[in-house]
Symmetry: C2
């Protein structure tokens, strides 16, 4: 376990766009649009979802926690909000937008100059109720990792049959 501090959070958040770029940029369409199952997301859609999170989730919620208004309730995150972002876009265009938005959001995070007390301030999550800014920042990091994991799993699963008996040793195929 590592305690949440803003420097650590930024050291992880700032590397995600390049990690995702290395994983998917230049991949052929059959990989970019591959799915694990119907109604699950493709790598292309996941990048759009990361964009949508930058636009509507993490920093907007940080602002609700830190600003002077008394209504601390977060807007519900729309899990389909990325579909219009993904439509008709090249993967490189999506990757570029994610990179730009993440960089802007990290600059906002740096400029906020958060104290330990700030990390304990609360907002109201539509499902969980009170959550702290520290929990929000930790979740932003873990959310990045969730989607790096998801992309690697989607790629792996395209070879689920092709690995033959090795499947037993390759735990990612059994998730």
């Amino acid at each position: 376990m590592i305690p949440v501090d803003v420097t650590s959070v930024i050291s992880i958040l700032s590397r995600t766009p390049a990690t995702v770029r290395e994983l998917v940029s230049g991949l052929e369409d059959n990989w970019l649009h591959a799915r694990e199952a119907p109604d699950t997301w493709s790598p292309h859609e996941i990048v759009a979802h990361l964009i949508y999170g930058e636009q509507t989730d993490w920093i907007p919620r940080m602002r609700i926690i830190l600003d002077e208004k008394s209504d601390k309730k977060f807007t519900t995150f729309d899990r389909t909000g990325h579909f219009p972002i993904a439509a008709g876009r090249s993967i490189d265009s999506l990757l570029h937008q994610f990179e730009q938005l993440r960089l802007e959001n990290i600059l906002i995070l740096v400029a906020a100059d958060l104290t330990e007390d700030d990390l304990l301030k609360e907002g109201i999550h539509p499902a969980f109720g009170p959550v702290t800014l520290g929990q929000l920042l930790a979740s932003w990091v873990v959310h990045d990792m969730t989607h790096i994991y998801q992309i690697s799993r989607i790629i792996a699963k395209q070879y689920e049959t092709e690995v033959g008996p090795w499947k037993e040793y390759l735990g990612i195929l059994n998730r």
Copy 2:
């Protein structure tokens, strides 16, 4: 499902060193040496394991399958073989070695100029018995994805408590 062909295999294998580099290069020691549990590997050790696979697993096994000798039995892979490689090394030194070895191995794969018939040729796995070269190449790709997944999961788990109630939404923490 995507059929195994050498071009696709190379398009994935060739991006792994850079993906892993973006995930871990420059991370602070508490992340590089973090573990999910005792007796599990750290990101630092995983990079050493990837090196050891390049040295002793994938291409050596391809050679056993393709060469003229009648003994097609693979050497058993040593799951502790990477510990001496990891000992005392900086992450950047490990990443650099992985990058070099992977590049050399891809050049060997390209030079082998494999046909569809070659992909059906067999070696003898110490646990599974007969496996094809196609299955070996597919497993090499999936093995890369397994370890990208594992690194992202190790990073995520350091914040398992810090995310608070979000844990329920973040599936990677429940693996």
